[in-house]
Symmetry: C2
Subunit: 316 residues, 2 copies
Amino acid sequence: MRFGKRETLCNLFRIDLPIIQAGMVWTAGAKLAAAAANQGVLGVLGAGSMSPDLLRHHIRKAQSLTQRSLAVNIPLLYHQTEQQIDCALAEGIGIFITSAGSPKTYTRRLKDAGCLVVHVVSSPMLAKKCEDAGVDAIVAEGFEAGGHNGRDELTTLVLIPEIVRAVKIPVIAAGGIASGAAIAAVFALGAHGPQIGTRFAITQESSLHVAFKQAVVDATPDATMLCMKKLVPVRVLKNAFYTQIKTLEDQGASVEDLKSMLGKGRAKKGMFEGDLTDGELEIGQVSGVIEDIPSVAELIARLKKEYAETLQELAG
Amino acid sequence: MRFGKRETLCNLFRIDLPIIQAGMVWTAGAKLAAAAANQGVLGVLGAGSMSPDLLRHHIRKAQSLTQRSLAVNIPLLYHQTEQQIDCALAEGIGIFITSAGSPKTYTRRLKDAGCLVVHVVSSPMLAKKCEDAGVDAIVAEGFEAGGHNGRDELTTLVLIPEIVRAVKIPVIAAGGIASGAAIAAVFALGAHGPQIGTRFAITQESSLHVAFKQAVVDATPDATMLCMKKLVPVRVLKNAFYTQIKTLEDQGASVEDLKSMLGKGRAKKGMFEGDLTDGELEIGQVSGVIEDIPSVAELIARLKKEYAETLQELAG
């Protein structure tokens, strides 16, 4: 039965390995998505940090670099969502991963256009709503994940079995997965496969600024923390900007204080432009175990090897 | 190799199954520890909520109920630590699980007395310190665990591989483990076995007040939260007392404000006396998946069955 589970995502997305490369902002452009797709995993473009024009450019470029399945991740919280969806549909994208917002808003339209829809959730209650809205699969994202995060702080280990029990559609586990051993762990918990973010973010092909990649390689296990809980919780690499937020929060800062502190363009400044002092450095808790910047091909070979070894060791 | 790992704890503690029943305050008395030991797992008394005299009573009672290995969990942060250790040594306890405080303080003395010493940690750095202090094994406890918790908020999924890599001594995974599937997951991550808390807390034999046990059975996935981070972080079931703390914390409460709010005897009031309004209800994030109050024997049979099924499914 669980073997069948491991084939589910391959059949659904027409991929060779049941692994999703997360469509992260300022990280997942054409180079990363195409490299991932060419290794047989689902390559995903992160539209959250792209204007519709830039998204079109990345879709076309990625399509020129691979013949395999490509998806687009669209957070439903920016003002250009509608145009991003129009653009991706016009360019022939058939798999949409949506996050934030309600799964009801766009699922019907995307399904009517013949697309697959995956929605990202952080609680069993929202997973059930997704299923009711006709979503094809769930990404269940734990507290250890980088970037924007759920309010209930459910960890991947606790969240996955709860969501697997709550819905009948396939469940993709996200948050804290950067090794073949962790992939085996989430299969054991009942997931149909992993979505991997931070580990793909720290590869040669990701769009992150090289200074940020190196900072993650150098990071200690305690290097990230969830903050901005009163606004929208976000996990970041600790830096001077984080310390300022933390100080404000410890003093009981209001939502307005935090908004004005955050300002505009902080994530771009840190993640894309490499300002490690004043930028917002969104990244996962697994930063502490990441020690190199491999190519996507090297990474996938490593994950496959570690996964096979883990299963063998578990079998005794 | 990993099969060897699964035998390590059995050989170390002379138990049949590589599982530790957590020695939780107001929860793990003679009945729970002896029942666990009689099922072949390591039964642990929670000395943290016991005077030396009460501890002596529980040790003797537990010894009268089982011939198998028994351990004592002693948090190194109360004024009676010295007397608790004297008492446990005098009563023939040979396995000590210490938590909080420095592993340097008592390890030498306990080792000289011929005992095994296990220390609870929440970061790789502290794990290394334990190894250097001569500790025999580590309990690595993730963010999802109930009760007192680490400051770095590392989840079990992220923490276990980091600690396995940091030390050569056996690593026991704790936090978020309440099923055979989760046991398989932590073995996949490289742990030598699980320490199980919340799931043992909600059994017939635990000392928790029945009203609290029922509240955990009724709990939804979002029912717990980590609070008191400025003081000593603690994961509790949300109730009126929690809401008061949360309100204070959101307003930027100081350590002193929190101390005076906490007062004395809150955990006893909630966990042992069943005051679900004003008590401090320490419990793990897995509360959301707990649906019954089995006997320890029923629980162990279930965990073994689920674990075997999970391995079989993973093997395809």
